[in-house]
Amino acid sequence: MAPLNKNDLSNLSFILNKPNDVSFAERPKPSLASPHDVLVAVNYTGICGSDIHYWVHGAIGHYVVKDPMVLGHESAGTVVEVGDKVTSLKPGDRVALEPGYPCRRCTNCRAGHYNLCPEMAFAATPPIHGTLTGLWSSPADFCYKLPDNVSLQEGALIEPLAVAVHIVKQAAVTPGQSVVVMGAGPVGLLCAAVARAYGASKVVSVDIVQSKLDFARDFAATHVYASQRVSAEENAKAIRDLAGIPSGADAVIDASGAEPSIQASLHVVRNGGTYVQGGMGKPDINFPIMALCLKEVTAKGSFRYGAGDYALAVELVASGKVDVKKLITSVVGFKQAEEAFKKVKEGEAIKVLIAGPNEKM
């Protein structure tokens, strides 16, 4: 395929002005800021719960949309230009975009925890513009070349898959273990798949929506459980009985953010097991702290993704261990972005992809 020319490409962007007020506009095309950077034409972008949240509420925690901001951060694209010092990529290469750039200099960055960099510039976290746009500039080491057998649409799923990889690494899942995942949304489903790839022999997906559980069973879970309106301890016991893990699960991942699920998690994890908080819900909840203490549970947070997660995510897709294509509910044209957001908000879809503005549909 002939290399793309930046001058031939549109930089139409999907912009959030204020809650529930979005518009399209051509923005100035980015240039390479450093010889280590590359320019990428965005081909596909998935919609994340956080994009929806900004669209509806205009803020997540202390991140507030004060000025119009381009949405989107789960993207794959094609390299258009490379800086003079870039040797790993060339124009025409198809890449998954890791959309957050750390400072590389602080204590966290130097210690290998760049996801915790206080100066992190993350796409579509205000005030940084997102990737629902035509052209995107990135340091070359944050673009991951897609092998020939991985499509650009699959490339747009690498971001949520990397989130799942990071969560499962925090959970320290090893072969033969049992894992319970609370929540069967995209991240929960992907956590289940990654846990299987890490050798877990039992993976239980838990949710309140039966259709999501049906999907989970076909996708990656060995068992599924529909949460009941009973106590956390009762739900936990039902999960242990269902999966045949009377002592509890080695690892429990919360990918729901829901208080009842978090509470059940502490009752389903085994003595000495690991609990990972991946999901985001209420900032403060009632937590079974006594269970944590008595059972000597290791509890960890998980935030986005760090060193090696994206590369592993690409490898999991390329080797066929995680079939992300199954999560793609539909693909829409760039101008249908607002409709796509509405559809995702209604909760009917798993992952909707928005084609880039230069994509011929």
């Binding site: 590389r104 200099r105 130097r110 290998g112 925890h113 080491d141 090696g308 590369a311």
Partner: protein, 367 residues
Amino acid sequence: MNTELLTTVMKNPSLFLAGPGTARIQDRPVPTISDPHDVIVRVCFVGVCGSDVRRGDAVHFWKHGGIQTPVSDPLVMGHEASGTICAIGSAVTSVKVGDRVAIEPGHPCRRCTACKAGSYNLCPDIKFASAPPDTHGLLTKFWKAPEDFVYKVSDETGLDEEVLVEPLSVAVHTSRLAGIRPGDTVVIIGSGTIGLLSGAVARIFGAHRVILLDIAGEKLRFAAEYLGAETRLLDMEASPEESSEAVLSQFDLHDRVDVVIEASGAEASVQLGIYLLRLGGSYVQTGVGKPKLSIPMLALSEKELRVRGCFRYGAGDFALAVQLLDRRMVDLKPLISSVTPFERAPEAWDKTGRGEGIKNLVQGVLD
């Protein structure tokens, strides 16, 4: 020509190694701020490391022109130094002009897999002071560094002492890799600068017993006084198995040595270290010696030893070393054996090469 006069005329006098046994002072362009995060340091003291001179079987720079990569083009030597900030870039916030700093001499790329995973000491493209082919070192008047590779130090500590933060960082890195925990028994083989500093750090990490072994009695007498460590002179005629039995008997440590830090690089010591360890013990190779040597692999395997290589220092090591010095948890002054004027630096190399002194310093270029 009078070299003292030369260095006042030159803008950035620097001491080059031009070939084995050939050193000369030449001028170089004064470095300038090119990135908003850069600082320029006026170098005040530079230390001499064993790697700068020939030592035993290992081939080093001064006598043989380079460790693994021979020095081809003239190269400025020195990688242990302290100084004062004389210029800062627009984005620098952690130091200001006039601040006294310890200098971390290796600048990684920050972009590769190793850097982003937190192992920047393993960056394949790291620019390390005095490393061939062309990364000039710290025996110079002015040195440019990114802000996060200089560390502001206490006004109470001399800049001569601050030079030893570099080998102290090696000791910190070693102790962290060894996984020393409170109550541990640590044996250190080799009582040079690194061995001594490793002993000090091991104590700080909570080691209950620290034992130093060496073939030189004088070094062990120093270790006993400096560290309050237990010591034993190794018999060069004895086999490593015999030495191991002698040490374990003398100190009543059969199956009780938790950690061995090998800080000499000598083959017999490496073997000794493996024999000394208890089942499941931890071994760290910090000393640099022959590239290939013979080890008791069966003993290593059957005792399920955890063996780690150790290379320079990584994330957090330098910062901790500065903290340890500035809080007076280690005293580095006793290790400073001499200070040689800049123009006569090769004399400091010769001293170190002859085994004279522990740490020999070179004075930075004076105005």
